[in-house]
Amino acid sequence: MIIETNKLTKYYGKARGVIDLNLGVEQGEVFGFLGPNGAGKSTTIRVLMDFIRPTSGHARVLGLDSHRDALEIHRRVGILPGELALYPKLTGRQMLEYLGELRGGVDWGYVDQLAERLDSDLSRQIKNYSSGNKQKIGLIQAFMHRPELLILDEPTSGLDPLIQQEFYAMVKEAKEAGQTIFLSSHILPEVERVCDRVGIIREGRLVTVETIPAIKSKALRHLEIVFDGPAPAHEFERLPGVRDVTARNGHLRCTVVGTLDDVVKVAAQHTVVNLISEEPNLEDVFLTFYGREGNHAQ
């Protein structure tokens, strides 16, 4: 196990961080840590890095104790903190130089390569950076020493779509190179896209750990089909996995669990003007995994 937590619990005074978290991340996988903001993702990550100490339970990273062996862990891990803060008066390059020196030097050829891929201008002062440009520096410093484990807290926040694609490619390459990636996110499609397995956390508790295909097969999708004529609602109501069918004029709305295959095949027998499939949001995923209990999140 690359990351292992055992009944990890963290309270900030009386405020809940995480409760009884049992997490296992295996060598070489891309593990997604999915949950809404405030669910306890950053708390978990900060315990793994020994920035904060658990109230009870413990965590192991790379087989080492998160507190006792913190330095060895830090040597071998690259981290992108959730609330990334950099030194405003340094340039991007100076920031990386400082962090690189504190790691005993890094391969600057590789740093430049990373900067080029992410289209990061290292020559300007950080105080003049947009949040996306800061995030790029955060990513470069996490990757630059080719760590065995990458812990990335909301890595794509602030990145524009093109750079996000490049980041996904970097994750894929890191995995191919044998690195393990632990990535937190509140965006399901992102996790679906890059991860092998997903741990879902909600209100401080780990709800489930699933493979991506399993998540997809359970995911709820809201679908809207616009027909060139009255919507044949009754044909859809009969389909397995289809719920909440409503039809008005040519518009048909429904909720689909799992794949859209059946729905699309039935629809194809009519003239379809438009088909809108919303990305399933987190609340929908929770609904799937806890049924009505999902309303708690409000």
């Binding site: 950053s42 900060r46 890095m49 830090h74 609330e83 803060a85 962090l99």
Partner: protein, 268 residues
């Protein structure tokens, strides 16, 4: 300047260090040129001083002879004015060494590197020690240049150096106190500033009033200013024991900062 925390911290201070030092050279030089005129009108000044209420005299370091350069430096420089000047930056930097990085959130990235927390504290405090010594050197250069320009022949350069350096343990003591508070408490920068500045002022008053009112000896000994002895240093030289005590306490406070930071959570 970015190869370790010590140098990076000095680098962050460099602009302020340059301006402070330049300002202190000029200011100290200018200050010294007042001495001849004070010496000439010596009796007037001495009368003025002697006629001040005892408590006001105490604030200036007690009874001193303003007609000698030693007396002048004791009263006008070392007893009150310069230490306060130096304490303002020593305390604010002391509170900011850990406090600012934690407040802005950069402490996370710093601690994510394989750097032990004790090392962050030691290297940062080391930078503040250098800062303090450089500013004191600037003061000294100003005193010497001022002495030359104003033709103050009887000035004992070695003794002035002693008096100047004698301010370092006091400044470092209060800086370490502010650092210790930020080590113990996350988000403690404001608290550290307030408490330390308040204590510096309060303990000064205890010390200054000791000669005119009945401040018990044990209370006097609780004041760091008692061990600083700015008003006697020009006459008697530095007390090695007192210097060692203040530096020792500063070291203990740095250790407290390390102890506190090692055992507590780092706030976001």
């Amino acid at each position: 300047m970015l190869s370790n925390i010590f140098l990076k911290t000095l680098r962050d201070m460099r602009r302020s260090l340059i301006w402070w030092s330049a300002g202190l050279v000029i200011f100290s030089l200018y200050f010294m040129t007042f001495f001849p005129s004070i010496q000439e009108s010596g009796e007037v000044w001495q009368d003025y001083m002697d006629n001040l209420p005892a408590s006001a005299q105490a604030l200036f370091g007690g009874e001193v002879d303003l007609s000698t350069i030693e007396g002048f430096l004791s009263v006008e420089v070392f007893s009150f004015f310069y230490p306060i000047l130096l304490l303002t930056f020593a305390i604010s930097y002391g509170a900011g060494l850990i406090g600012s990085e934690e407040e802005s959130g950069t402490l996370d990235l710093l601690l994510a590197t394989p750097t032990p927390r004790w090392r962050v504290v030691i290297e940062k405090f080391g930078a503040l020690v250098v800062f303090t010594l450089v500013t004191l050197a600037a003061c000294y250069i100003g005193f010497l240049l001022g002495g030359i320009i104003a033709n103050i022949d009887e000035m004992d350069a070695a003794r002035v150096l002693e008096g100047t350096l004698n301010m370092a343990p006091l400044a470092l003591f209060f800086a370490a106190l502010a650092l210790a508070i930020t080590g113990l408490r996350s988000g403690g920068r404001g608290l550290a500033l307030g408490v330390t500045a308040g204590l510096a002022a309060f303990t000064y008053l205890i010390h200054a009033m000791a000669s005119v009112s009945n401040v018990p000896e044990w209370l006097q000994r609780l004041s760091p200013w008692y061990y600083y002895g700015g008003n006697t240093v020009m006459r008697e030289g530095v007390s090695a024991g007192h210097v060692a005590l203040l530096l020792g306490l500063a070291a203990v406070l740095v250790a407290v900062a390390i102890w506190g930071l090692r055992r507590r959570d780092v706030s976001v």
